[in-house]
Subunit: 444 residues, 2 copies
């Protein structure tokens, strides 16, 4: 392994980072000037800006606008090395990570593997639902929605037709709320022009939330406004309801209600994605590693965890920090400084989370935001919150190119009421519906 | 089939167009105000701007920048109907097209199925080579190139290493020349920054051309300049050479030369993509339909063919028109007018090809163009030709959004020397190379 041996000769300690999400990438950057070799291992060759995946799914953005190849982001950083590989297990005694391309020795190991969709063990659900955790997920959802409508044109039977036009979204968190809003925008402004033969009054969007409010964790005002906006957009919101089962056609709620839909979008929770090989005792419920205030995994000297995969209990956050971008970014930055300190014989400093608040967009001119500034909390909604959300997300994107492209797409979509990327390329979960033959004849 | 029956009630004759390439799409537009129902059938839901596929393959453009969904392009045209389907066969007696979603009756049938990659019956080649005819092809090629380099990092053995770094391009037409130039640009400006551990002097780009000149069909000046530019860019051009066989690893030329490369790009010719059911007598060598000067298929009154699938012999073009965008566009426009004339009881007018010339780009500031204006022919090369090429291609794109996005990407790439879309999403033909274990150990 040319590169890695080459660097070994310099005899610098090696920091191996597993996973290039918000936390892992920020850490790699923070180590730019530390006397270490940084090796990032990820099974993708790009960083994904997850908060905008739902816009890729709803044909508003190209995947290329929200992903950035690691090598492109960091190819100026001399101590950075990337390896495209799947991590199979860790040997903390030999200090080796076993991967699909061989073994990687480490001096310091940082697990930033994030979280994965949690179906709570429901195999059938896992098979039939679509998640929005990866670019592949988002593109599959986009393709599926479009294929559904193309196929609906072949059908006369109303129940069959509705099964293709209706959507069930499980989970009333930001992702669920945002995809529900995006689908309702498409229903109002885009699809009726594309599919003149379909009556879009027949297209139902159901949002199923297990708790009594949407956007749990945000302010009561945010939850209330989000609900009002979604109902204004014609989304059917089911509060205090759970989807008990889904066979790919009928979703049954715990209140007995049955919803017929070929597409169910699962945004109802995530679970940590741990690696093999560490002592079971350090893995807490939710598959997150117990870490101390320095993000060190319980029981290990040189193994750390940051972001969604880490669970740090503090007085302010007895159940750990929210599983969103900010804690991951801040922990990555903090740990970068701390490793630098250790290697220059200084003491590490404990992590303190700076909560900047939370935001969610519902659709055109509608968003909610709880913003924390100088200890004060401000509740915004409507256009001003939507504008704030847009600015924050454009600025947070990686690379000038992506910022420019997203800004342009959004400006374009805003004034044209259009979402242009309605092409079907690649995987789809749409069922192959047989055209009704008696109806099919009518095609002649 | 709601939509189609609805229209039937108006009792307008139905024009069924098979294939939404340059010809089919132009025809559909040209029929906007004709007293007909226009039904376009395509197995994709989008039009592909094929001349820029090679830029998608070389990470310069997003697929979203060069494709446009048919429904988006034509959703204002009231007599337009689209169906996503594969055409299985035609029954010219019953006047029915059999498709994967049922049967479609036609009054006028227009075949615009274009051309497909021609491996001249070499199954092994078809299996191991990558073409650049579709968006899927282009993305697969992009993914394969990037995967090759990621895997090359694992290898010590020089032959194995070179097999991943080297590329063989078969065919010295515009596509072959353009992809060769694009790869050499990546080799010079992009990859060395991304893969500091790889010595890109080891990356060879071979262009194999069966004839004595590149860009056959363009002026001698264009051929000469293209060759000069490519050689300046360090592309190894093999003239009067054929690839006899390729097993996925070694390409053997008819002159005995062997080229070791895991990636072979096939740009060596196309063949028509006819449909089942028409009389064999109307299919000429090259699988193109013999058509008269009105693009009517020989032996049929109401079946037409336009673009690459049509072979119209004229005094100026005894072997038919070149299989490029312009003849297809012009035939689509002409046929649209002619069908309108027939339906309003006027005589059709014969097709006359207005040859505007030809262009090919080799890379940054290097292109060649033979431009025909007012009967005169002008030969351009270098920067001015490159500028002309860029302008013509941006303007030819469909939709303001795509034009703007491509213009921006190009401006950005030009000044940054960067090609940003270097992410691996979806299919790849890259072999799964096992890391050399003795070398692999070195990774530790």
């Amino acid at each position: 392994m040319e590169g890695l041996t080459k660097i070994d000769d310099l005899g610098k300690p090696r920091v191996v980072i597993v996973g290039g999400g918000f936390g892992g990438l920020e850490l790699a950057k923070a180590l730019a000037h530390a006397p270490v070799q940084v090796v990032l291992i990820d099974k993708q060759n790009y960083h994904t800006f997850q908060p905008l995946l739902y816009q890729v799914a709803s044909a508003g953005l190209d995947e290329g606008d929200i992903v950035s190849p690691f090598r492109k982001i960091l190819n100026e950083q001399e101590n950075f090395y990337f390896r495209l590989a799947e991590v199979q297990s860790v040997d903390p005694v030999a200090q080796i990570v076993e991967t699909s391309i061989g073994c990687v020795r480490y001096d310091y190991l940082v697990l930033a593997t994030g979280a994965t969709t949690n179906y709570f063990g429901d195999e059938v659900m896992a098979k039939n639902a679509i998640a929005i955790k990866s670019v592949e997920d988002a593109l599959e959802l986009r393709n599926t929605v479009l294929c559904n409508f193309e196929q609906a044109l072949q059908l006369g039977d109303m129940e069959q037709l509705n099964s293709l036009l209706d959507f069930v979204i499980v989970g009333g968190g930001p992702t669920g709320v945002e995809i529900a809003g995006a689908l309702s925008e498409l229903r109002t402004h885009v699809f009726p022009k594309d599919y003149r033969e379909i009556d879009f009054k027949e297209m139902d969007i159901h949002l199923v939330q297990s708790g009594p409010v949407l956007l749990k964790g945000m302010s009561a005002n945010a939850s209330k406004r989000a609900l009002e906006s979604l109902e204004k957009f014609g989304v059917q919101v089911w509060l205090d309801a759970r989807v008990k089962s889904y066979d790919g056609y009928t979703a049954t709620l715990n209140n007995g209600q049955q919803l017929v839909a070929r597409t169910l979008i699962w945004a109802a929770g995530v679970t940590g994605a741990p690696v093999q090989g560490l002592d079971a005792s350090c893995l807490l419920p939710g598959n997150r590693y117990a870490v101390d205030h320095y993000n060190r995994v319980r029981g290990y000297e040189n193994v750390f965890a940051i972001g969604d995969i880490a669970l740090m209990k503090t007085d302010d956050y007895p159940d750990g920090h929210p599983m969103v971008a900010q804690p991951a970014l801040q922990q990555g930055r903090r740990l970068g400084k701390n490793l630098h300190r250790v290697l220059t014989h200084r003491l590490m400093e404990p992590f303190h989370y700076d909560d900047k608040g939370a935001m969610a967009t519902i659709g055109r001119n509608h968003a909610v935001a709880d913003i924390k500034l100088f200890g004060k909390e401000y509740h915004l909604d409507g256009f001003i919150a939507w504008l704030a959300w847009s600015v924050v997300h454009v600025v947070s994107l990686i690379g000038f190119r992506n910022r420019l492209m997203v800004l342009l797409q959004w400006t374009w979509s805003y004034f044209s009421y259009d979402k242009g990327l309605r092409y079907i390329i690649g995987k789809t979960k749409a069922p192959l519906v047989e055209a009704d033959m008696e109806e099919g004849k009518a095609i002649i």
